[in-house]
Symmetry: C2
Subunit: 142 residues, 2 copies
């Protein structure tokens, strides 16, 4: 499979695939005799997994650590597990925070919806006095 095909199948752009290889997220791909990358379908499994790590917000530098461990084989499994677990915790925290905020947002949305009892907080006119008349960009000389 050439890079364009892999792009179609993986959803990554050709540019991104090359970029990922460059930085080490994707293993160096064999080239055919015209120096074109020739992929095995199995790479899709790894790309899918990377996609999931990305979805859960793992930064590339951590994916790189994972990828490096993976290339070193079975002996690194414990370490890989740890890496995933640690990120898992971070995600769980973030998830909780997200849900909290979502609740607050919902309350606020509900407040906008009802015509009478409105949330006191954020809807008052700007708490600071008004913006300076436009064009008066802090005329203090230096």
């Amino acid at each position: 499979m050439k890079i364009g095909e892999l792009a179609r199948q993986s959803g990554l752009s050709v540019h991104t695939i090359r970029y990922y290889e460059r930085i080490g997220l994707l293993p160096y791909a064999d080239r055919n005799r015209s120096s074109q990358r020739d992929y095995d379908a199995s790479i899709l499994v790894w790309i899918t997994f990377l996609g999931r790590l990305k979805t859960v917000g793992m930064p590339i530098r951590d994916m790189l650590r994972y990828a490096a461990l993976r290339e070193r084989g079975v002996e690194t499994e414990a370490e890989r597990r740890l890496l995933l677990q640690q990120h898992r915790e971070r995600v769980a925290l973030h998830l909780a925070e997200l849900q909290d905020c979502l609740l607050v947002l919902d309350t606020k949305i509900a407040g906008y919806a009802g015509s009478e009892p409105r949330m006191k907080d954020y809807d008052a006119p700007p708490p600071q006095r008004r913006r300076k008349p436009a064009g008066t960009r802090t005329a203090r000389p230096r």
Copy 2:
């Protein structure tokens, strides 16, 4: 309240506060006679709200739209509600995705933990053939 104090109380850095004012996320603050920003505590309410929008991943450009509407007063409430609702939907979707991925991660972690039955997929040696011998950076001349 001067900017340093606001920074302490809000958790934003002084730099960030000034940046937010510059781009319009925070209303232009009054200056005292030495040109120093003088904040009213009520600004904290707005900053807190901004923080929540940030937590739920709203890009600054959307916060700006919201802030602009807010400065225009009560008549823009419907629009603001819409803005929040739309973002709410995006977040809800993201949340679901996140939870899915977390499940998959957990399965994988569990796979690493158990010594015998391991997930077939991602633990095989790299699906591509091995990385080129180090140092052989694509010697094809151009």
